[in-house]
């Protein structure tokens, strides 16, 4: 990993930012302020943060229904995101999209997506634009192990391989497809998932998704490969979804012991410990960063709560250009 001290510190900030944002989302949800099913990224922060750290500022990303982490790692402000989740006028999408449709094209975010695998074709298309323009941009598509089963994965990977599109398909294996253990519905073991790449003429690589450094490095290599015209890469990042599928999921498909065991491999303390060990920061600084982000997330809730409801005139706008 070729990142300097300031960047590494910023990455720790981002990880805590995602974690505390999601904690606040859970809280506002439990207070009955969120209208619909909401999916948190708790436990998978190292993937979004490591991957986005390897991208250029004008690269594109596509995201998923579990998208808050990707969007924060890409640099989005928390206030409009929280306002969007509460359906308010100052939300990222004026309250029209909600948690599953947050997008910010100026930050290169082509949208979270409520359809599993739904943004894989879009990612291939964004890469197509870059290939036509020769603008050097790369598109990174976050998607889940559930998305690997969708037909659009097959078709998008196939087109990306055929045309050597500058795209990275980053599969987050968080071990669960909604309320079903991923291994129950996968025809091959986790360790072989990335080998599917060969069938499409893509490079395939597997990585520890709880290790920011490792994720950064494989994405940086995939980015280099994509930008230089060598083609697309399928990365499978193995992690663990520490919260349920959605907030309120009774989690009957796993034991508390299993989750506790997974928490021992929580990517954030792990990253902080590594930074301390390498002398990038000390324990006090690490604790300060955590507190700062806790506060920032709470402020986002304040902002969102004081944000007005959308004007009813907004109902009919934005359907057509």
């Amino acid at each position: 990993m070729s990142l300097g001290r300031d960047r590494l510190v910023e990455l720790l900030h981002q990880m805590w930012r995602i974690r505390y944002f999601e904690r606040e989302v859970i809280r506002v949800y439990q207070r009955g302020l969120v209208r619909a099913s909401t999916h948190t990224y708790v436990g998978e922060e190292a993937i979004a943060v490591g991957a986005c750290a390897a991208l250029r500022s004008d690269d594109w990303i596509t995201s998923t229904h579990r998208g808050h982490g990707h969007i924060i790692a890409r640099g989005a402000e928390l206030e409009p995101m929280m306002a969007e989740i509460l359906g308010r006028a100052n939300g990222t999408c004026k309250g029209k999209g909600g948690s599953m449709h947050i997008a910010d094209l100026e930050l290169g975010i082509l949208g979270a997506n409520g359809i599993v695998g739904g943004s894989l074709g879009i990612a291939a298309g964004a890469a197509f634009t870059s290939q036509l323009l020769g603008d050097g941009r790369v598109t990174l598509a976050f998607f889940g192990d559930g998305g690997l089963h969708q037909g659009i994965f097959h078709e998008s990977a196939s087109l990306a391989g055929l045309w050597k599109l500058p795209v990275i398909f980053l599969c987050e294996n968080n071990r669960f497809a909604e309320f079903t253990r991923a291994e129950i519905v996968l025809p091959i073991p986790f360790a072989q998932l990335h080998e599917r790449a060969r069938a499409y003429g893509l490079e395939g690589v597997s990585v520890d998704g709880n290790d920011v450094f490792a994720v950064h490095d494989v994405v940086a290599a995939a980015r280099e490969r994509a930008a230089s015209g060598e083609g697309a890469t399928l990365i499978v990042a193995h992690s663990y979804r520490l919260e349920g599928h959605n907030i309120g999921d009774p989690e009957t498909y796993r034991t508390k012991e299993e989750v506790a065991e997974a928490r021992a491999n929580d990517p954030i303390p792990r990253f902080a410990a590594r930074l301390i060990e390498e002398g990038v920061l000390d324990e006090d600084e690490a604790a300060r960063i955590e507190q700062e982000e806790r506060k920032r997330a709470a402020e986002a809730v304040q902002y969102a709560m004081s944000s007005p409801e959308p004007d009813l005139q907004e109902l009919l706008s934005d359907v057509y250009v």
Partner: protein, 337 residues
């Protein structure tokens, strides 16, 4: 253009196919952000030869053959459109667009609204619809009402070569996702087509024949039958006005109401299965906006509520034709106010 017949006025006779091909050439020449992808569209020039010559002219980067992969093709179109391109994708039959329904309905149509107006999806999906060629149930549907039901989509159905050219050029320049439905039995029809910059605005109906007794509203190939019916009825002294909406969504209801106010009697014709089809929507809109101008209930002429059959005899029985429209006009004229 093999069928061209250049006249001094700049209006030639062209086939519907060649008019579409000319529109593609002109728009790709005009805007480097356009590209064409689809099955057989490059080297082969398209199964209908609509994209003939484009690959030679604009190169293999902008005109690409794809695998048989409708969801992927449209998905690439959506993503490219969101990022500044103007993709023109071909889906060989409208029946196959259902393989890409998520990309069209959940992604392309909704991106702008879901994202609070920050996105544009200037995507054109060219496809062929309609029955009449013995292609049977999975290659003969008329799904215009299905797509017109989706807020965010523009749905276009040209009935003449001139409209084919002018509407396609407008659709390519438009910033909304457009389902551009050509009719499989119109590609070989000929008609006058202006040279060069000929744009037909989206959302604007055209009166294909003026009349005073009955308004026939028809789309796509049914316009041809409606004009034949009007011709036959004229011999009996019945004056039929033929209105072609050309764009299904947004629908030019003002033009329809204007004609209804004049005639007071309406026949709505559509090649799709009757239930939940375009005739239902247009009849309902007339009820909403022109009921008090009617002298008789609206008559609907539509296909039977069956999958399109293969047998020629059965297919002809299933879909409307000139005789059905003539019968519909007679029916609407016999109703007393």
């Amino acid at each position: 253009m093999s069928t061209s017949d250049v006249t001094a006025s700049g209006i030639r006779t062209l086939s519907y196919r060649d008019a579409l091909n000319e529109a593609l050439h002109e728009e790709m020449d005009r805007d480097p952000a356009t590209f064409v992808i689809g099955e057989d569209v490059g080297r082969h020039g398209g199964v209908l030869q609509v994209t003939k010559g484009l690959r030679e002219r604009f190169g293999p980067g902008r005109v690409r053959d794809t695998p048989i992969s409708e969801a992927g093709i449209v998905g690439v179109g959506v993503g490219a459109a969101l990022t500044g391109s103007r993709p023109i994708v071909e889906i060989m039959y409208i029946d196959f667009t259902l393989l890409a329904a998520d990309q069209i309905v959940n992604q392309a149509a909704k991106a702008r609204y879901m994202f609070g107006g920050k996105a544009r999806v200037p995507l054109v999906i060219r496809t062929q619809g309609g029955a009449g060629r013995g292609n049977a149930a999975q290659h003969s549907q008329s799904l215009e009402a299905f797509y017109a039901h989706i807020p965010g989509l523009v749905v276009v159905q040209p009935s003449t070569p001139a409209d084919a050219k002018g509407l396609l050029k407008s659709a390519i320049r438009d910033d909304n996702p457009t389902i551009f439905i050509e009719h499989k039995l119109l590609y070989n029809t000929n008609g006058p087509v202006p040279e060069g910059e000929h744009l037909v605005p989206l959302g604007e109906a055209d009166v294909k024949r003026l009349g005073s007794d009955v308004t026939v509203i028809a789309t796509s190939r049914q316009v041809v039958f409606a004009l034949e019916a009007a011709q036959q009825l004229a011999a009996e002294g019945i004056s039929v006005e033929v209105v072609d909406p050309r764009t299904i969504r947004p629908l030019d209801i003002d033009a329809i109401v204007l004609s209804v106010r004049k005639t007071g009697r309406v026949v709505v014709v559509n090649e799709a299965a009757r239930t939940g089809g375009l005739t239902s929507e247009i009849a309902a809109r007339i009820m909403d906006e022109a009921f008090w101008y009617l002298d008789a209930p609206v008559v609907r002429v539509a296909a039977a509520d069956v999958p399109i059959p293969y047998s020629e005899a059965l297919e002809l029985e299933a879909i409307p034709g000139t005789a059905d429209i003539v019968a519909g006009v007679r029916r609407v004229l016999t109703e007393e106010p």
